[in-house]
């Protein structure tokens, strides 16, 4: 459904160039949940941002159902593809009520029955009508992230790009948000592309994943590969080992 072919992203500052993504390719099937794992600076978030037009694509193709996605992105594209950002403290306008946060995409896309849709979106993320006229500062981190998910889903998109949706949340709240994402995907047949530095979260959420390092895709794995620690590259093995926690006997790397 969504296909990324040899994607490159270069940021230029004067004469300096940073090649943040250096040729990444993957295909995401309809209804699939696809993970991108890597450490800070590996370019994993940049891939998502490039897909939805927030980072400059300097090479390669991104296609949706076999058609090149237009640059700049059109409203039609955003109707089908929406993004949820990492930090719910930064991604909601502090002076807009939840109602106006949710009605803005509706008015941009010219949706009807806005009132009903907002009410329904709030119900779906488990918040209810009572939250509708609150401001973000009156909400906890988990509630904010639910609003961010509601804002993305209110346009009934087919693909959701999730950039570390739970890394700013406590463990117990993370479980709630992951369950919510799981349930919504099952109910609506959504397709996810999820970025995280946490292998456990990706293994829980995604059927397939790609491991990125320094802007390159080093390895593509299935969930089963990950669970049985069948990693081909040293880097992935190192990540897997570090994710298991601290071990005293280890020699310094």
């Amino acid at each position: 459904m969504l296909s990324v072919d040899n994607l490159e992203v270069t940021f230029a500052f004067g004469t300096d160039e940073v090649r943040a993504v250096r040729g990444v390719s993957f295909n995401v099937q309809q209804g699939e949940s696809y993970g991108i794992v890597g450490e800070s600076g590996s370019g994993k978030s940049t891939v998502l941002r490039a897909i939805c037009g927030l980072a400059p694509v300097s090479g390669g193709r991104v296609t949706l159902d076999g058609v090149d996605i237009p640059a700049p992105r059109t409203p039609d594209f955003y109707r089908r593809v929406q993004m949820v950002f990492q930090d719910p403290y930064a991604s909601l306008h502090p002076r807009h009520t939840i109602d106006s946060v949710l009605s803005e995409p509706l008015s941009i896309q010219g949706f009807d029955r806005r009132d009903e849709r907002i009410a329904q979106a709030l119900e779906e993320v488990g918040l209810g009508q009572g939250f509708r006229f609150r401001y973000p500062h009156q909400l906890s981190g988990g509630q904010r992230q639910r609003i961010a998910v509601a804002r993305a889903l209110i346009l009934e998109p087919q693909i959701l790009l999730l950039d570390e949706p739970t890394s700013a949340l406590d463990a117990s709240i993370q479980a709630e948000v992951l369950n919510l994402l799981d349930r919504l995907r099952a109910e609506r047949g959504l397709t996810y592309v999820m970025v995280s530095h946490d292998l456990a979260v990706i293994s829980h959420m995604c059927e397939r994943l790609v491991v990125m390092e320094h802007g390159l895709a080093v390895e593509e794995l299935t969930r089963a590969d990950l669970r049985s620690h069948r990693a081909e590259t040293d880097y992935t093995r190192k990540l897997l080992k570090a994710s298991a926690g601290y071990t005293r006997e280890d020699e310094p790397a």
Binding site: Q174, A242, G245, A253
Partner: protein, 275 residues
């Protein structure tokens, strides 16, 4: 003999609705070991760490029935006595190196500042600073010594922070989420440095974190905090035998690489836990 004794520590902040107690009667003793304090946001774990160092931000106030460090009563220290203790015998590493280092001063100068304040000569301070940068496994200490904080990555910055806290070879180090801002692989390296300091220099370490699994793999003993109280104290190796439903819930709700549980169990908070 224990290094630090804390009994019935309470931290309160005045609010419009009357005083809010964020730490409510925490007691523990610390020897020359690794003690973990775990809890979620707002559980009072960081305020506990700060209160021990007398760093409760005003208008908050900390009280305790007993708060002694190496037989010194910390409750009645003057500002001058605190200065002699903090940085020299007890130190704290904060969460984010971006906010804890002076952005307009080279790293080396900041390291030397600590030593100079505690009475070292210029040349000796410089040498010691370089030595500590080396000890936290910074590959090119000379370059980092001259660098400004913005020229360093997160992992490097956090190592510099640790080096800074350790230049004076403290007896007690309080590390407040020292690795939360770091990648997993770097996290392990930073922990290894701390581990070495505990085992080789006999330092006491309080490791504050929200990551129960990480803490249990690294520390000797774990205190689990909820709503300002210690709800459970455990040996790290016996974490899976946790009795308190909060600790169990916290452990259960984490996704695991080699497990398939849909949906994840969530934590049902019981109002009684807070009492």
């Amino acid at each position: 003999m224990s290094l630090l004794e804390v009994e019935n520590l309470r931290v309160t902040f005045p609010t419009r609705k009357g005083p809010a107690e964020v730490v409510r009667g925490v007691s523990f003793t610390l020897g020359r070991e690794r003690l973990g304090i775990v809890g979620e946001s707002g559980s009072g774990k960081s305020q506990t760490g700060r209160a021990i160092l007398g760093l409760t931000p005003p208008p908050g106030a900390a009280t305790a029935d007993r708060l002694s460090f190496d037989r010194t009563d910390l409750r009645s220290l003057s500002a001058k006595q605190w200065r002699g203790l903090r940085g020299k015998r007890m130190s704290m590493v904060m969460q984010d190196p971006k906010f804890s280092l002076n952005p307009v001063m080279p790293v080396g100068k900041q390291l030397m500042e600590v030593l100079r304040t505690h009475g070292a000569g210029r040349a000796a301070a410089r040498e010691k600073a370089l030595q500590m940068l080396d000890a936290v496994q910074i590959r090119d200490p000379e370059r980092v010594f001259r660098a400004y904080p913005h020229e360093l990555s997160g992992g490097m910055g956090q190592r510099v922070m640790i080096a800074m806290m350790l230049v004076s070879e403290p007896d007690l180090l309080i590390a407040d989420e020292p690795t939360s801002a770091l990648d997993v692989t770097i996290q392990i390296e930073v922990l290894r440095i701390l581990d070495k300091l505990v085992s080789e220099q006999g330092m006491g370490l309080i490791f504050i974190s929200h990551d129960l699994r990480l803490v249990s793999s690294f520390c000797d003993r774990v205190l689990v905090m909820y709503a300002g109280r210690v709800v459970e104290e455990l040996k790290a190796s016996e974490l899976h035998q946790a009795q308190h439903p909060y600790t169990q819930g916290l452990l259960n709700c984490l996704p695991q690489i080699d497990e398939d549980r849909h949906p994840l169990p969530t934590l049902d908070r019981d109002a009684a836990w807070a009492d």
